[in-house]
């Protein structure tokens, strides 16, 4: 068992006091920037990179990776408590998490989020340790047609985000897809739907839009019903603020589903944690015994996406460490760090610097335990925020939203975008359009369009390239199956009704 020997080497590196200290510092920092909406792990790591030059290199990557996966733990906090997505990968967590908070189960939601983050984070490291090289080779088989099929599968999840009306969900999704086309077209360098606005050349900022729709929209709707001073219920006592044994049992499938989906999607350089979180939420609902309850506050609806975005952190390190290929902003900075420290990231990195790779892997096991120990006691503390009366809480939400959105790009324009999307979110709630479907369109639109056009360039315009390849064909078939679900349900409903009439 070679891996075991290497892992022991890793622990001998990671358990030195200095590395333990920096691992702890990293995960604490990570949790903090995760909790704060706006400021993300990418910007934090970039700011701290110069400090690491004087450190031992393994220590440095242990600290910076701690920020990376630690941020995924914190992202859910504001999603659940205030309906403000802390990171883009925590948008889905708002759906059921915030509803749970409204029912007085904020503690349970926060607790489950920490536990599922721990389980998925650990499974992610396990995967990184055992299957990194073969998984990286498998991920190389993903070309534009496969990404297109993956995005279509993601879009099919709209079926599970629809509330009362499938038509409204599809409409919202189409608007989301349209919004994603705003900006500069990669293939022709021409601007689309920018209305002569230079600030729109880069597209609509995703965080600004989601914070507007979720947080501001929610505040606006609640302002209207000002009559009742409806304050969140919150259980008294420390113990009642944590998840029950039953919650854990309800989530066992979600833990596994989120971990696997998150890890696999994370290993693909062109996907990302947000896609993974939507996919795992959809899967969870598809196999649930009570799908109709999703969106009203079910605990699995928090566990699945939170597991997915944490396992994604492990997955994202696979192409980085085995091929020197970064999948996103944060891993790109880690890559920059490796080069700055004098490494040559690439296919030979693990072989030539085993202490770096295995030290990191071992530190991630430790880091995940530290995060759980840190985060669980914080749950009751954070939950206290809901004891605030609404005339304090709502201005607080608006304030945090503005500061958070501004800090992403230091752009006042983004704050206006958020305001506009707040109004949109308000209208959508009033008219019963599912906001999540719009967000889904926005998340996937860009990648979907790109992958489709890249595929057609590859095949000189032949559409058959999308179904002729085994992986993309399979994924598209799955998407078609999911899209048929509502129709099947309708048919069954009619049959039952017909049988009842006959009887």
């Amino acid at each position: 068992m070679d891996a075991l020997g290497n892992l022991l080497l890793g622990f001998s590196v990671a358990l030195t006091p200095i590395n333990l200290f920096w691992c702890l510092t990293g995960v604490i920092l990570g949790t903090t920037v995760g909790v704060l909406p706006g400021l993300g792990p990418a910007a934090t790591i970039a700011m701290l990179l110069p400090l690491t030059l004087k450190m031992d290199h393994t220590t440095a990557i242990i600290a910076l990776a701690g920020i990376f996966y630690g941020a995924r733990y914190g992202g859910s906090t504001t999603s659940i408590l205030l309906n403000i997505p802390g990171e883009s990968s925590s948008v889905v967590t708002c759906l059921d998490g915030y509803q749970l908070a409204r029912q007085g189960r904020a503690g349970a939601a926060l607790g489950i989020s920490a536990i599922s983050s721990f389980i998925a984070g650990t499974i992610g490291v396990f995967g990184l340790m055992l299957v990194a090289p073969p998984l990286a080779r498998f991920a190389l088989r993903f070309a534009p047609p496969e990404y297109f099929a993956l995005m279509v599968l993601g879009l099919a999840m709209v079926v599970f985000l629809a509330g009362e009306s499938m038509v409204k969900a599809l409409l919202a999704m189409l608007v989301g897809l349209w919004i994603s086309t705003i900006g500069t077209d990669l293939f022709t360098a021409e601007s689309r739907f920018t209305f002569g606005q230079m600030k729109l050349l880069g597209g609509v900022d995703f965080i600004a839009a989601t914070v507007g729709i979720f947080a501001l929209g929610e505040v606006l709707v609640n302002l209207e019903s000002r009559g009742g001073a409806e304050i969140f219920k919150l259980a008294k006592g420390f113990k009642n603020l944590l998840p029950t044994f039953r919650d854990l049992k309800d989530c066992r499938f979600a833990f596994l589903n989120g971990s696997i989906v998150g890890f696999l999607v994370g290993a693909l350089p062109g996907a990302g944690a947000t896609v993974a979180s939507f996919l795992s939420y959809g899967l969870e609902k598809a196999f649930s015994r009570h799908p109709q309850k999703f969106g009203t506050g079910v605990i699995e609806g928090v566990a699945a996406p939170e597991a997915a975005n944490n396992a994604d952190a492990g997955g994202a390190l696979v192409p980085l460490l085995t091929l020197g290929i970064p999948g996103g902003n944060t891993t790109a900075i880690l890559l920059g760090g490796l080069i700055l420290w004098g490494y040559k990231p690439g296919p030979l990195l693990i072989q030539e610097h085993p202490e770096l790779f295995w030290g990191l892997v071992a530190s991630m096991y430790i880091g995940n335990v530290l995060l759980l120990v840190l985060n669980l006691p914080l749950v009751p503390l954070f939950a206290q925020i809901l004891r605030l009366p609404y005339y304090v809480l709502y201005p607080l939400i608006v304030g945090i939203s503005i500061v958070g959105v501004y800090s992403v790009n230091n752009s006042l324009f983004d704050v206006w975008v958020m305001g506009l999307f707040g109004l949109l979110g308000y209208l959508m709630r009033k008219l019963n359009f599912p906001a999540a479907a719009l967000i889904l369109g926005m998340v996937l639109g860009d990648a979907l369009e790109r992958a489709l056009r890249q595929s057609l360039m590859m095949s000189q315009g032949e559409l058959s390239i999308l179904i002729a390849r085994p992986i993309s064909g399979t994924l598209l078939f799955l998407a078609a199956l999911i899209l048929c679900l509502p129709v099947l349900r309708k048919v069954r409903y009619w049959r039952v009704a017909a049988i009842e009439r006959e009887a």
Binding site: A46, P50, S191, K199, G202, G324, I325, G336, P347
Partner: protein, 327 residues
């Protein structure tokens, strides 16, 4: 005495205001934190370079104040350039430019600020590029690839960035020079470009030698030509594209520093002085070597001439490529 000094300052300030910043104030020295503006988000090529430069400037004690990197991403380089234009005359802000800062205003109507509106300080590096194929591909040199592309037009594929990027413009020039045709597929991130080449979904890629280095050593990639005037010291056995009989203009990928519009002579002199010393520093030399950049140090009138010539060259190439040129 103090009052006199204050009076003098006020007069100087008044003259400065009247002459629009071009005045004869004493030697400039930053008095507060310096903002370094980049056009990519954290993790982009420009961002990583700017952060490394800021770190080295402080390490070599060439600047007395801290330098904070500010990310103004969006619209190619348009958002960052507009931000610099707003900072007109501000001596505590500089920007890190790349070739995009020249091409972007040419193709985008909304990108109204051009490099000529800003104040160029220095060009620091030229980034060389090479043409790489998979190690197990049948193309041993540029000629093999061109012949194969001629035999089945548009069947071979190249992965790259935006259509106005250097990799696509070089493809268009080579296509014109040889009559071969192949397909160009844009990917927004360098990671996807490389993974599509490694996965065999595209056959060729224009890549920086540093990025290709480890994959060459691991036996995944083969370099068939360098897009440089002279052979690269790190790849002495790889002939340049001109050596292989394809006579094309080599489009440079330049990186350097500029200031907001109307920077005073003192400010320009200060920054030129800082970067003069910086370009000679040991840490910078090591960084250039590590990343396999080419030293491209240039300032003053030659730098202005470089921008003028590059603009003309780019306009020509873009027009030839069929892109919409708006300026």
């Amino acid at each position: 005495m103090k009052q006199r000094a204050m009076l003098a300052t006020m007069i100087i300030a008044g003259v400065t205001a009247l002459t629009g910043g071009h005045s004869w104030t004493q030697e400039f020295k930053p008095s507060k934190q310096i903002e370094g503006v980049v056009h990519t988000g954290p993790g982009g090529g420009s961002d990583l370079l700017a952060r490394a430069i800021a770190e080295m400037l402080q390490k070599e004690k060439l600047i007395s104040q801290r330098m904070q990197i500010v990310n103004k991403s969006g619209g190619g380089s348009a958002v960052a350039m507009a931000y610099l234009a707003e900072k007109k005359g501000d001596p505590h802000t500089i920007g890190f430019f790349t070739g995009v800062w020249v091409t972007n205003p040419l193709t985008s109507k909304e990108a109204t600020v051009t490099v000529k509106d800003l104040t160029p300080i220095v060009r620091l590096i030229l980034e060389p590029a090479v043409i790489a194929v998979k190690a197990d591909s049948p193309y041993k040199n540029m000629n093999d690839f061109i012949e194969a592309a001629k035999k089945s037009p548009n069947q071979l594929r190249q992965s790259g960035g935006s259509v106005t990027g250097r990799d696509n413009l070089m493809r268009l020039l080579i296509q014109k020079a040889t009559g071969a045709q192949w397909t160009y597929i844009s990917f927004p991130s360098g990671g996807e470009r490389l993974s599509n080449l490694l996965g065999g979904h595209v056959q060729m890629m224009v890549i920086e030698p540093q990025e290709a280095g480890e994959h060459i050593r691991a036996g995944n990639l083969r370099v068939i030509a360098s897009l440089t005037e002279k052979r690269l010291p790190s790849l002495p056995n790889v002939p340049t594209i001109k050596e292989q009989g394809i006579d094309v203009t080599i489009i440079p990928q330049a990186r350097g520093v500029l200031a907001p519009p109307d920077a005073s002579k003192e400010v320009v002199q200060y920054w030129e002085g800082v970067f003069d010393r910086f370009a000679k520093s040991a840490s910078w030399k090591q960084y250039v070597e590590q990343n396999q950049f080419e030293d491209g140090y240039l300032k003053g009138p030659p730098l202005n001439k470089f921008f003028d010539e590059l603009t003309v060259l780019m306009r020509g190439v873009l027009k030839e490529a069929g892109a919409k040129v708006v300026r």
